[in-house]
Amino acid sequence: MDLLSNKWIVNLLVCCLFIGVGCNSVEKKIYVHLNYTVPCVRLLNATHQIGCQSHLSGNVGVLHVLESEENVDWVLRSGPNPPYLVILESPLFTRSIMMKLKNGSSRVAGVAVVAPSANPLEGVSPHTTCPNENTGVYTENYDPSLAHCNVTVWNPLGSGLSYEQFDFPIFSLKDDNDTQVIRQCYMDHNRAVNGSTPQYPLCAMQLYSHMSAVTDTATCMRRNDINFSISPEMVCDPLGDYNVWASTRPINNTAKGHKMWESVVIAAARLDSRSFFFEVAPGAESGVSGFVTLLAAAHALRNATQEAPPNRTILYTFFQGETFDYIGSSRMVYDMQNNNFAVDLDNVHSVLEIGQVGLRADSRLWLHSDPVSRKNDSVNAEVRKLIESLQTAAKGLNVSVNEPGFSQPLPPSSFQRFLRARPIPGVVIEDHQSAFTNRFYESMYDNAEYLNISYPPNLTPEEQLVFVTDTAKVATVVARALYIQAGGAESQLEGINADPQIVTRMLYGFLIRSNNSWFQQRIPPDFMSHLSKPTNFYVGVAQQRSELTHLVQYLLANLTGSTNNVASSLQMYSYVWVQGAAPPNSTKREGFCVRSTVRLSKALSPAFDLRDYTSKNYSTWTESRWKSIKGRIFLVASHDLEVVDRVRAARFAKEILITIISVNPDLFKVLFGFSPFLYCVIFLFVHIIGLQSEKAQSPPQRDLPSPTENTVHKLLQTALL
């Protein structure tokens, strides 16, 4: 019995090992899985759903590489094997082609866009022409002549593709080996040569990106609340994250509401951006240029505000979620109005916002202000003073700052949300006089290459980190202007200079590679693993902390704080332990404690706290949940046969049965047992005949795959295991 039980134990162990080790080689013969898949996901707001959707069991389509806009006709009308899965090179990813594909979506199973390695020459922006038009300050109530971009269309190159709803999945592929395999498969099997129809088997692709939420935010939030089971199934999550703010003088954070004798100058910048595809948001010009400038300005002001503190406190605020109807700034204004923030709106003296400042042609900066609030004399006077401070600050720096020169509303900026609450004097610094100079606003091409951040080719990452590029002047202007605006003396201005090294390192870290030694020295040890992911400036859902927010928080703490080894008053300061650098002899890093006034404040739209999911005043953006996002390619055999052989088989079998019954009832019983055999014989014949014949006629419309095959597959798998 001993030997026997040993044998069975070994058998059991071997079986367990085998299940773990073995992988299905038949599946490997059939499918090639795609490694890099970036989908477009579904986002919902109070009234619409945007983005893409696939079937629960994936969308299968015959591959077709689109050659030109006229070739769309093959997909929509003349191609014999619908539905097609269209592969687009990025120059063809335009609004006109996508709208045509959207209208013919019964014959289109999906779209895969091949992202290029270099930016295109002409501008491409999938965002709308008038960003955030309904949640800014320019509504019909405020001034009807300025609403809906009547005066200036801010993003004239905008195609609005990001805000369209598609019934098929759209994926983005990198131009690498996988995509080459796809193209080769198309060339080998699907290419129509000299007008003849391509023969089966054809190359096909299946894309899975099923989104659980539908219709709008109110519907999906209602479905979230259905509590039928212990673990309820959530279908969508609100977008949001945290705002980062800091002040030059410590402010008591536990005592919320109005602070007596506190007058605050808000210096604001935006952190996030987006693109058509999920979590691809390089946001170089639209986001990074602004907040890196503000970080450098905060660093430049560190010494001056310690040694010769000005009258007013400067509050540096970095807002998250501004792309999606001003999530961060609307939340901060809401908190200020409801005494939930360290200061309130009465404490705010003025606002200086840094918008897109990366592309300064001829080193010119433009100062935008709101014409409606400036009709009030006192506000106008303050705005004039702010503009003068900026012009004083820019003297001698070879940067020219001007107003646009005609009456123009503010561009999309967080300052608009403050104006919605009350008329505060403020200025938004941009690099465009009227419409955006950014040709790739909120698109995947808005990256380091667009800002001309390039390095000589043979530098290692470390050398690239310290290669200085000329970007610090704007930060110096902003820092000096803030100092004057806060009431500081002009004599101190000479000492306020932004450090080009720091600006360069931040740009390198945020745009090219965040896992570099400079960043690593300024973060806590447990944040190290988050640095290895590529930087992504999409705001994401509120439950998921964005790495960017924390990175900005730690950088701001290091740039404005001081080293301090005793954590004393947590009301006034916040303390962060950073891991520091390793001294030259050893590998162990020497960490230290940084004391600063940097705080995080929640950036979740007030609509979700108020449970007003159809709100017109606040952002109601939510992101749908999904189960799996993947894609694979394979060959499909002729599906024409399925219909044909069933019909033929049925007819053939009926004839035979009738003859048998009439001849001999006993034989009938025997042959009835063999009817499965007959079916397979017939299937064999039809298969062989089908393989040799030409596909002359167009096959009937194919039903999209049903869930039944999925369940059969699952049953078989469970039966096997």
């Binding site: 070994v10 058998n11 071997v14 090992l17 085998f18 299905n24 038949v26 599946e27 013969k29 059939i30 499918y31 090639v32 994936g58 299968v60 498969c185 088997p201 190359c203 096909a204 299946q206 694979r632 390619i633 394979f634 060959l635 499909v636 055999a637 599906h639 046969l641 399925e642 052989d645 069933r646 001999n664 006993d666 034989l667 019983k669 025997v670 047992g673 063999f674 499965p676 055999f677 079916y679 397979c680 299937f683 064999l684 298969h687 795959p705 039944t708 095959e709 059969v712 597959h713 078989l716 798998q717 039966a719 096997l720």
Partner: protein, 258 residues
Amino acid sequence: MTAAVFFGCTFIAFGPAISLFLFTIARDPLRVIFLIAGAFFWLVSLLLASLVWFISVQISNKDSATQQKGLLIFGVVLSVLLQETFRFAYYKLLKKANEGLLTLSQEETMPISIRQLAYVSGLGFGFMSGAFSVVNILADSVGPGTVGIHGDSQHYFLSSAFMTLAIILLHMFWGIVFFDACEKQRWWAVAAVVISHLTVSCLTFQNPEYVGSLVPTYVILFLMGVWAFYSAGGSLRNLKLCITCKDRDFLLANHRPR
């Protein structure tokens, strides 16, 4: 490639076997039991063979392709020999069980003859062998794709199904011939069964040249079928009587009230 290929291949592989089961075995519980026991014996033989193969693969050099090919051939040969060994072991077990059943039951004659046991055990071996050959292939045939993107032949599913059909029927014929040979102590017939099993298994190394593996297999199937027919006591006269439904013994034995 969706449901059509799945059902087609399932019926091709298992159709005749299931119909044989339904018509000749399902009504008699004793035959069902021996069928399932036969299937279990085949399963144990596979378990032992896979244990040996798994250990040898782990020990071997995974990078050398010739060594892996050699190991595969070794595994196949070992598996065939183990299956035949277990067929012999099952035969011995059935002989012993038959004597025991005779002493237990009240009747004079044995409830099930050794010929019927041969047929039933062969079919049991065949069912289990067919299941292990083809079920994972069927599971993948349900998906939308078909074999071929890496250049393999498209007839993969179909030829697997036909091979499985052949193997199931072959196991049945081998069972009949084997048991008959053991009864009559004809060891050359046992050797012939083992050699034909080895031949059929090694013919599969011709794949993906499916013609090269399927055609000889079906030739062997036909020959074994004829041999099994004769060793089970059939003859041309019997066949003629059966087809024209004049076999009185058969009709009487299977008479059912209408």
